[in-house]
Subunit: 207 residues, 2 copies
Amino acid sequence: MSSQPHKPTPAKFPTAHGSDRELRADARRNREQVLRTAQQLFATEGLGVSLDEIARRAGVGPGTVHRHFPSKEALYLAVAIDQIEQLVAEAETLAATDDPAALFTLLSRMMANGAENAAVKSALSAAEFDLRTAAPSVAADLTRHVTDLLDRAHAAGAVRHDLAAEELMALVAGAFAAIRHAGAEASPQRSAHIARLILDGLRPQPR
Amino acid sequence: MSSQPHKPTPAKFPTAHGSDRELRADARRNREQVLRTAQQLFATEGLGVSLDEIARRAGVGPGTVHRHFPSKEALYLAVAIDQIEQLVAEAETLAATDDPAALFTLLSRMMANGAENAAVKSALSAAEFDLRTAAPSVAADLTRHVTDLLDRAHAAGAVRHDLAAEELMALVAGAFAAIRHAGAEASPQRSAHIARLILDGLRPQPR
């Protein structure tokens, strides 16, 4: 490269054919397409799937994947963070309602999502990486929503009085372990039932 | 050794000073003392503790430990099986009562025991070894008692109707994961509360 100092460096994006805004939108769509494809392939085929195969299935060039995600670990982490951001968005929607039991809906979604998605499970149960380190603001958003929804449920008497915020994430991790132990990860119906057993224990108790 | 063919092989036990029955009782007491000591040391100091240290704290010679347990792994497994045998004994006592909620007492004991004892946790959650392979009859006894107590609880309406036997051990494993995630392993009070949250979800539900 240094032997051709006058040759212009090729643009990483073909800026000649669109506005910056369009290109940014295009790059964002590509990135999202890679994330969705990777999420599905990690779930169905595990971590053995290659970055090139993910690019092929996403319908983008290998360079596009490598540009956004320098390693499979980086892509795996990005998938997890992307999924947690979707949970945060769901939490925001739930927070905007006045449903006193919205906490149960959110916890149920977290358990279902993690049961079928190893990256989400890792992120929520701090198993392979700690979301608070990897994406502090996303982790903080999720924690804040869970705590707010718990406060609302407490105020409405929709949850047992002796339930603490720090126990909630522990029970989510517990649900993942129970679902895995039962071999129910591939059955949304069976994993939902185990989640329901655990969530029902959090409702106000007659005793 | 082969140069002294006429010298009698030393007896491994000093048979000159007691009846066979006394000696067997003595060996059994030593074995149990080693198991108790190992269980406590594994719990407080982890697997790093040496067999010789276990012998010293148990008040027996190193040879006694090595004779009963050829490796630390063998001792760890024996500790786990010993603890599960105690749970089976508790289950037998509970089965002899007519308490319809005896199942909850047994599950609560399993969760408490595993929370403070890594070997028990491994055995009950099939984490490091599978009890069904390592000690099939003990595993079968425990499974049979859990199933019988669940049947009794179902018949008495003491448990939710949609709870299956195979979900129970999954929930025990889930409780261990939740307790660990909450960092509550060193607090019997906090781990008991998490266990209670999970067990309350198994009671008959009003909804």
